[in-house]
């Protein structure tokens, strides 16, 4: 009751939960060009996820899994359907999310295991798989209502049906760890904790026993996606889209939002995207005006590239960016192997490679 009143007051004054301000890029989040200037390993058709077993890096591209080798990419697996999540199982084999609706193990001792539902509720948008303690698979399902490719519709409809599961390849059982999340998109074990990206709430949760979720990071300036562990403790957090004040405003305008969803093609919504600048039919914000042929890199972006290095406590140590004037946007997956960070820029469909030691030396003076 009290919260309802305070929320109403906040809405009238435009403050608190109704404020549309977005955290600024400052301190550890200060903008740079590391993702934009990163080395391009390959340009793929439909890259989705990355996985590593410690010595080799695999990328899921459409319905193929390819291994990243110094001389190029080698196809190692082909499945029926589009791969939406990938993880390497220790001891051999891969765990794949197929079309967002099935989790299947290919290769290794548990080859053939597959799950399509947990507790009667079928999978709908499986988007990340991680290996937890005791070899269990940790899986996030973004939404029970909309499929994986319709994440934008889920954002603009204020979806909150994300789930986190634990699957046992040995016994074939499954257990629901948390539900009713505002789009779960990324899971990772960091030490004894289980971190989950709750995208539309723009923070990372620590999922504890009994579905108790506590936010581990502050409000982030972007919507977090897949998380992978980092050597030395902590994790790499990818943010596939960025928050802007206009999108925050539209999320609080139900009439306009509903009409926009009903009448306009999703590619032209006032919503973040994986890439931008393709057509004039996309909405433009004031600071994106080109003056004398130059566009401001700090303009509010429709798409952005951001990878954040979190330490074991969830604090941001440093971050890598591709700004408004760049092309490598929509970082949805990352993997660390052999001192290098591999990321997928889904907006430009590129696989990028970054030297971690060199970057850290430059960023952390």
């Amino acid at each position: 009751m009290i919260t309802a009143i305070t929320e109403w007051i906040d809405r009238q004054l435009g403050r608190g939960s109704a404020s549309i301000t977005v955290p600024v890029f400052d301190g550890a989040l200060k903008s740079n060009r590391y993702i934009e200037d990163a080395r391009v390993l390959a340009t793929l058709d439909a890259p989705e996820d990355l996985a590593t077993d410690g010595s080799a890096v695999f990328v899921a591209d459409g319905s193929k899994v390819m291994q990243v080798l110094p001389e190029g990419l080698l196809e190692v697996l082909q499945v029926q359907g589009t791969i939406t999540a990938l993880a390497c199982i220790p001891g051999g084999g891969w765990a794949l999310g197929i079309d967002g609706q099935e989790v299947r193990i290919e290769g290794g001792p548990h080859h053939g295991r597959h799950w399509r539902a947990i507790g009667g509720q079928p999978f709908c948008a499986v988007n990340a798989i991680a290996i937890g303690a005791n070899g269990l698979l940790m899986v996030t399902d973004g939404s029970t209502e909309l499929e994986y490719g319709q994440w934008k519709r889920d954002l603009m409809s204020l979806g909150k049906t994300g789930r986190v599961f634990e699957l046992d390849p040995q016994s074939g059982d499954g257990r629901l760890l948390a539900e009713n999340l505002h789009y779960a998109f990324g899971v990772c074990s960091v030490g004894p904790h289980l971190w989950v990206s709750e995208s539309w709430k723009h923070h990372v949760l620590d999922v504890g026993a009994g579905a108790r979720c506590t936010p581990i990071t502050d409000d982030l300036p972007g919507y977090p996606s897949r998380i992978v562990p980092a050597t030395g403790g902590g994790a790499w957090l990818t943010c596939f889209i960025l928050r802007t004040q206009l999108v925050e405003f539209v999320l609080r305008e139900p009439t306009y939002r509903k009409r926009m969803i009903a009448e306009i093609d999703p590619a032209y919504w006032i919503a973040p995207a994986l890439n931008s600048g393709n057509t004039f039919l996309e909405p433009m914000q004031g600071a994106q005006l080109k003056m004398m042929g130059v566009v401001k890199p700090w303009a509010p972006p429709r798409s952005y590239g951001l990878v954040v290095r979190l330490d074991a406590q969830g604090l941001v140590r440093y971050s890598l960016h591709s700004r408004f004037d760049g092309k490598n946007h929509g970082i949805c997956a990352a993997a660390e192997c052999g001192g290098y960070l591999y990321v997928i820029a889904k907006g430009s469909r590129r696989l990028l490679m970054i030297d971690i030691a060199q970057t850290e030396k430059e960023l952390i003076q």
Binding site: L246, Y256, R259
Partner: protein, 733 residues
């Protein structure tokens, strides 16, 4: 698809599919008939600063008329009027001193002394009334001059100085009354004029009120319209800046204190005539009452802000309260406490209002309205229509790349030299034939926009922020016009031109030009786009009679203007309206407007002739579905204007554009784009000249030059126009 001109002057052809839902229709109706924009314009007026004091006055008057039955009866009113007049003079003097940035605490003592002086002259010296009044006024001036010299010339602090003179004058008055009081009481003057001054009335209104009205009107004209009054306000605003601009600060400040003395003396004269007493407590605490009146009226203690109206309102409030409370039988102490409480309340509210007025006005001023359009035609490269995206502008070569900034319009003379405006207010000229050498042809200021040549090769330029100007071939800059007739339906004073955009000249020397918006300045074009209100107009300047008048009103950002082939009408584009219309100013159809093109997929800008009898037009930006939907939801845009910072607003997308050719009958013949936006991302104007098309953009750093295949290599727009005009006049002669 061929668009035929509609028969209805206002609207959309009857067959258009508008995609309007029921809520849209309601919105359209509500926003057409309710003038939201008037609230912001009213609050922005200068006289709205007095709003709070006037409200307080009305409240007090209302309350008193309820509490005291006969408060507004004629005798009571006359008595109140007399007191108000006397105090009113002193408040006027105090207002003047406060506006110049000082304060005069000695008014009470000066009042007592000048009252004594008047009585001394009339009762003891038995002088005629005129002499007595003159001597008293001069005496008051001298008293004020002491303050003036000390504060104006010796730069002493006003508060301390007038406090000292308060004490000194009060002491002198006490000495004088002790000596002469009985003598004054004994020697009553026998003068009908003197009695008339204090107790007389003309047409029921007391003398003092008439004199006060005359002084107040002169004072208002003085402060608001005469140079000396502006100097006073300037000094009060910033003494150092006023000194730097050459205002005689010391003399003006001293004169204000002298004026305060003179006005106090006037008050003293009327008081002396009315009450004929020189008691010991006259004028004690008067400075507090006068200060209260001034502050209640809204005159700022910091200086630089104030008016006669505020002084008057403050005087009336204070007097009504004091008299009203006395009539209720309240003790003097309570009286002063109530007055102090009201002063506190009113001062706090007024200060809040003055400090936040501009912020409130900013929030309230933007008044978006309903602007519904059918879905835009598709520009898909595969669509096969004339709108299909292509790369025809890619071969355009740049002129002045990186050297010219913001050439909104380009034009060439008969020697093929190229002229363009720049955002520094210059007209830049590139010399033929290679256009490498660049020079400043003339400096006008503002932002030069549309251009045209007349028969004598004078270059007419619409300058945003300034008006319509002309540059002669000898580079002399002449202002043609910067004002038009005031439209009394608009609360804003729209007689000045804010954003003259494009022009064209008829064969008979009439210049038709567009003014894009009357509610916003040049740099706020995007706010006007957010509003999408019909804020613009087309204006006509007659070079023969040198008169300017408005031709068409309520247009949605009119931009390009081009005289049509019949010479009796002109085509004009409405940028946010996404239409091109044709208006006849002569002939059988004079006064009518028809639609030529509508529901364009982008925002039309300048229109110029093409060599094959058609018209070139640029689309400075393109429509997008999100903006089209936002234009149908004015409350959404108003909330966005209030809550979202301007850099993050949804803007009309002017990062991309195209050039199109259309016929007078409304058919789009071809469109030319720069698909990657590398060379010419935004285009505001194009001019065909000797087989080439020259492109300009207001946010570009180059001019483009494109070779047109199959175009007449000898054709130039104004050569052709004036040759045709000469042939027509010869033919008709």
């Amino acid at each position: 698809m061929i668009h035929t001109a509609s028969q209805t002057p206002s609207g959309i052809p009857p067959k258009a599919v508008l995609h309007e839902t029921f809520e849209d229709k309601l919105n359209r109706w509500r926003f057409t008939y309710w003038p939201d924009h008037m609230l912001g314009e009213l609050l922005a007026k200068r006289w709205m600063e007095t709003a709070i004091p006037v409200a307080v006055l009305l409240l007090v008057a209302l309350a008193l008329s309820q509490i005291l039955p006969n408060f507004f009866g004629p005798t009571n009113l006359a008595d109140t009027g007399r007191q108000a007049g006397e105090i009113g003079f002193i408040v006027l003097g105090m207002a003047l001193v406060m506006i110049v940035g000082g304060i005069d605490l000695s008014v009470g003592s000066m009042f007592a002394l000048t009252n004594f002086c008047a009585l001394y002259c009339m009762h003891l010296l038995k002088l005629p009334v005129a002499a007595a009044v003159t001597i008293t006024v001069i005496f008051g001036a001298l008293l004020g001059a002491v303050n003036g010299v000390l504060i104006g010339y010796f730069r002493l602090r006003a508060f301390l100085t007038t406090l000292i003179t308060l004490i000194v004058y009060r002491a002198w008055y006490d000495i004088l009354t002790t000596e002469y009081a009985t003598a004054i009481a004994g020697g009553m003057p026998d003068s009908a004029t003197w009695d008339f001054v204090g107790a007389g009335a003309w047409m029921g209104v007391p003398t003092v009120v008439w004199i006060y009205a005359a002084v107040a009107i002169f004072g208002h004209i003085f402060i608001t319209r005469l140079r000396a009054g502006w100097h006073i306000t300037a000094i009060g605003g910033s003494r150092r800046s006023a000194y730097n601009t050459g205002i005689a600060v010391r003399k003006t400040v001293a004169s204000c204190y002298v004026a305060s003395g003179v006005l106090t003396a006037l008050g003293g004269v009327f008081f002396a005539s009315r009450l004929s007493t020189a008691g010991g407590d006259i004028g004690v605490g008067l400075e507090v009452t006068v200060l209260t009146a001034a502050v209640l009226g809204g005159i700022s203690l910091g200086g630089g802000k104030g008016s006669v109206a505020k002084a008057l309102v403050g005087t009336l409030i204070v007097l009504l309260i004091v008299n009203g409370l006395t009539s209720t039988g309240l003790d003097g102490g309570y009286n002063r406490m109530v007055l102090a409480a009201i002063l506190l309340l009113a001062a706090v509210v007024d200060i809040r209002w003055l400090k936040n007025k501009h912020r409130i006005v900013n929030k309230v001023y933007v008044s978006p309205t309903y602007h519904g359009m059918p879905p835009a035609p598709s520009c898909d490269p595969q669509s096969g229509t004339q709108w299909a995206l292509n790369d025809k502008l890619r071969p355009a070569l740049p002129i002045g790349l990186g050297r010219i900034e913001g050439p909104e319009d380009v034009i060439l003379d008969h020697k093929d030299n190229l002229y363009a405006g720049s955002r520094h207010g210059d007209i830049i000229r590139f010399l033929a034939p290679d256009y490498q050498e660049m020079e400043i042809f003339a400096h006008i200021g503002g932002t030069p926009l549309g251009m045209a040549f007349d028969k004598q090769d004078n270059l007419y330029v619409c300058v945003g922020g300034m008006g319509l100007y002309m540059v002669t071939p000898d580079r002399e800059v002449v202002k043609i016009t910067d004002e038009t007739n005031r439209n009394f339906k608009s609360i804003n004073d729209d007689s000045r031109l804010r954003l003259a955009d494009d022009l064209d000249i008829t064969d008979d020397g009439l210049i038709f030009f567009s003014e894009a918006t009357v509610r916003y300045e040049m740099h706020e074009w995007a706010t006007d786009g957010l509003e999408a209100r019909g804020n613009g107009r087309i204006i006509c300047y007659n070079t023969n009679t040198k008169k300017t008048h408005t031709v068409i009103d309520d247009l949605i950002f009119p931009n390009g203007v081009c005289i049509a082939s019949d010479g009796q009408s002109f085509l004009f584009a409405e940028t946010w309206g996404c239409t091109v219309k044709r208006h006849w100013f002569q002939g059988p159809k004079a006064g009518t407007t028809e639609i030529v093109l509508e529901n364009l997929p982008g925002f039309p800008d300048n229109i110029n002739n093409s060599s094959d009898g058609h018209y070139w037009m640029s689309l400075v930006g393109m429509r997008c579905p999100a903006m089209d939907l936002a234009w149908k939801m004015p409350s959404f845009r108003r909330r966005m204007a209030k809550q979202v910072p301007r850099d993050e607003w949804l803007f009309p997308n002017i990062n991309t554009g195209c050039v199109l050719k259309f016929s007078e009958s409304g058919e789009v013949l071809e469109t030319m784009w720069d698909l990657g936006g590398e060379n010419h991302p935004m285009i505001t104007s194009m001019r065909e000249h000797r087989g080439h098309l020259y492109l300009g953009g207001i946010m570009n750093n180059r001019i483009g030059r494109l070779k047109l295949e199959g175009a007449d290599p000898n054709w130039s727009q104004y050569e052709w126009r004036w040759a045709k005009a000469a042939k027509n006049s010869k033919g008709s002669a």
